[in-house]
């Protein structure tokens, strides 16, 4: 993992549930089948109401998003246990989420798949930051810099090496919890 990720942010409010991240009609796509994984990515955030989010997360006709960083409010990823949610975001090209808090299963699935770094912010960024602002997440310093202001992030602790390893299985093998294949 590079120590920094820089790019434009996409900003969403509180309580973005898994139906908004990946609408249920696309769940027949199986994430372990490579072309279906890519397809899931193209539908990331397709459930956001248009009137609240006039800027498209993925431009029409594009397969990936230009937003590598998502800034969110509280309880991001609430709702279902669908692993399709962090996978769709990862497949779309998102690297980091910076949220005030997460729903449990979404957080866990982000770590287990190694698709995303789910950072928690120490303060509310939604409102002061807008979609398109350029941010730099610094993994060594646990900070995000947006519009010239540096905000502290909560260190990810135990889960960070799991994501860095590429998810639960790689981590379990590296650390001898399961045998190497």
């Amino acid at each position: 993992m590079a120590e920094k990720v820089t790019g434009p942010v996409y900003v969403v409010e509180d309580n973005i549930d898994t139906d908004q991240i990946i609408p249920a009609q696309y769940l027949a796509l199986v994430p372990t089948i490579p072309e279906e994984y890519e397809k899931l990515g193209s539908y990331a955030m397709a459930g956001l109401p248009n009137e609240l989010y006039p800027i498209e997360f993925i431009k029409k006709g594009a397969a990936k998003t230009e937003y590598k960083i998502v800034v969110a409010g509280k309880n991001f990823g609430c709702g279902s246990s669908r692993e399709h949610a962090p996978i769709a975001l990862g497949a779309a090209g998102v690297k980091v989420i910076v949220a005030e808090s997460y729903a449990r299963i979404f957080f866990r699935n982000s770590v287990a798949t190694g698709e995303l770094y789910p950072y928690e912010a120490r303060e509310r960024l939604v409102g002061s930051v807008k979609t398109g602002d350029v941010a730099t997440v610094d993994f060594d310093a646990d900070t995000v810099e947006i519009n010239g202001v540096v905000h502290e992030l909560k260190p990810m602790g135990d889960v960070r090496p799991v994501i860095e390893a590429g998810g639960l299985f790689n981590y379990a093998r590296q650390t001898g919890m399961i045998s190497k294949s």
């Binding site: 009609q25 796509l29 994430p31 459930g47 246990s81 287990a112």
Partner: protein
């Protein structure tokens, strides 16, 4: 220790665990379905090899239920992936849509959505079917690739939803690294008054603590009020622990639980021994509150989340386009019987759809009677469009041809469990969650309606 801590101590082979401990828990059952099963199997094969064997075929329960009665090609294929895996691994508890173990599943839209299109093994919604087929036992640890897996907490077990990667890990190893949650206690006193149902209890509580109010935590239901609730009521309540963000919900097992579980394991020939967990005198809670059931009133969760609470009687200005009864939490036989009590001899005013949770519910509704007529007929005569094709159906939207899906900017009152934007289909639609009584009364008037005026 709390109930959850005691079960997790046992599941991890320890004498004691405390909230916050990271433990390797052994799974007693892994549950999966057509939406997350294929991906979990994909992870298992990728990580353990194409020829790998699952850790224990007897402990895997596969119940296709989500996207079954649809012409969506990938959805039909996903049922076939499950069948191939069940055959290859010789899994005894795969409840297939069709009877031919070498066949392929294809929904036939020409036969319509209402008439039965499944074989003799098919069940329907996994959380409702799991205990009915004898796979829920007190004191056990259940993991399932669906957030409403927590419903089985009604039987005094630890039950929680997980993702595909974790499920793939369990398929290969039988265990999972988890954190022991803190426990919140909800101590229930009194009994439910007329017109108030278990759904009102859980909607009231989620409104109280907020729909992220139990995030990472266990919700433990105790007290004489909890004991007074039927097994179906406990299932309704445990089901929606996740709607408050909880890891699990749990009721202590009692005589009602043992009777239900013993009957079901005997009838289905599943594992009959279990070790129920009793309540300790010394329990540590991060939240402890008493609720008097007798004070509750018909409650609604308004669009757009399950914590957006209001009393039904204050919402009579809300005009509705549709009513829906079904799902794991709201599609049980007792839910339809309650609905039928309200609409018996009357006529619904708006489009109203009913989807029984399981094939067994279909059968029970046709066999049981209300005022001399089969409950099924009472519902149909009142104008409810009933399908025999038990499944998750429109509760989670699904492919566009899903029965009763909200395919436009409709406002629906629903006996289901989740109402985030777009949950039941179009992201322009709005969903109000309520009890079967309240949904039925609202179907009669076309507005959100307190059902007590329809119950003498």
């Amino acid at each position: 220790m709390t109930l959850t801590e005691k079960i997790l101590a046992k599941a991890s082979g320890r004498g004691r665990v405390d909230a916050g401990d990271n433990i390797w828990a052994n799974a007693d059952i892994l549950l999966t379905h057509d939406v997350c099963g294929p991906g979990s199997i994909g992870v298992f094969k990728r990580e353990f090899g194409q020829d790998a064997k699952v850790w224990d075929a007897e402990k895997i329960v596969i119940i296709p239920d989500h996207y079954i009665f649809t012409s969506d090609r990938l959805s039909n294929r996903n049922v076939d992936i499950l069948r191939d895996f069940a055959r290859e691994q010789q899994l005894p508890y795969f409840y297939d849509v069709i009877d031919d173990p070498n066949g392929l599943w294809t929904f036939n839209p020409a036969r319509g959505h209402l008439n039965r299109q499944y074989g003799s093994r098919y069940q329907g919604v996994c959380h409702a079917a799991l205990p009915r087929r004898g796979h829920a036992r007190p004191g056990e640890a259940l993991f399932g690739t669906d957030s409403h897996t927590c419903m089985a907490g009604a039987f005094g077990e630890f039950a929680t939803g997980i993702g595909n990667t974790d499920a793939g890990f369990i398929l290969g190893t039988g265990k999972l690294l988890i954190k022991v949650p803190e426990t919140m206690r909800f101590y229930l006193e009194g009994e439910l008054p007329k017109g108030v149902m278990a759904k009102d209890v859980i909607l009231h509580v989620i409104g109280d603590i907020g729909f992220d109010g139990a995030t990472y935590r266990a919700m433990q239901w105790e007290g004489p009020g909890a004991q007074s609730l039927s097994i179906d009521d406990r299932m309704t309540i445990a089901n929606m622990a996740i709607e408050a963000g909880a890891k699990n919900g749990i009721f202590p097992a009692d005589e009602k639980t043992f009777k239900y579980v013993d009957e079901r394991v005997r009838e289905n020939g599943t594992k009959s021994d279990y070790d129920p967990t009793e309540i300790d005198k010394d329990q540590k809670f991060v939240f402890d509150k008493v609720y008097d059931l007798s004070k509750l009133e018909p409650t609604v969760a308004m669009h757009p989340n399950p914590g957006n609470r209001a009393l039904a009687k204050t919402l009579e200005h809300v005009k509705l386009d549709r009513a829906y009864i079904g799902s794991c939490t709201g599609g049980k036989t007792s839910d339809f019987v309650a609905f039928a009590e309200v609409v018996n001899g009357k006529r619904v005013k708006i489009d109203t759809y009913g989807v029984p949770a399981t094939s067994e519910v279909v059968q029970e509704l046709k066999e049981s009677r209300l005022g001399g007529a089969p409950v099924w007929d009472v519902l149909v005569d009142a104008g409810v469009v009933m399908t025999e094709n038990a499944s998750c159906a429109a509760c989670l939207g699904g492919p566009p041809d899903t029965f009763a899906r909200l395919n436009g900017p409709l406002t629906c009152i629903s006996a289901t469990n989740r109402n985030f934007p777009g949950r039941m289909g179009s992201k322009e639609s709005k969903v109000f969650l309520a009890s079967p009584y309240t949904v039925a009364a609202s179907a009669l008037t076309g507005r959100v309606t307190d059902p007590r005026e329809f119950l003498s």
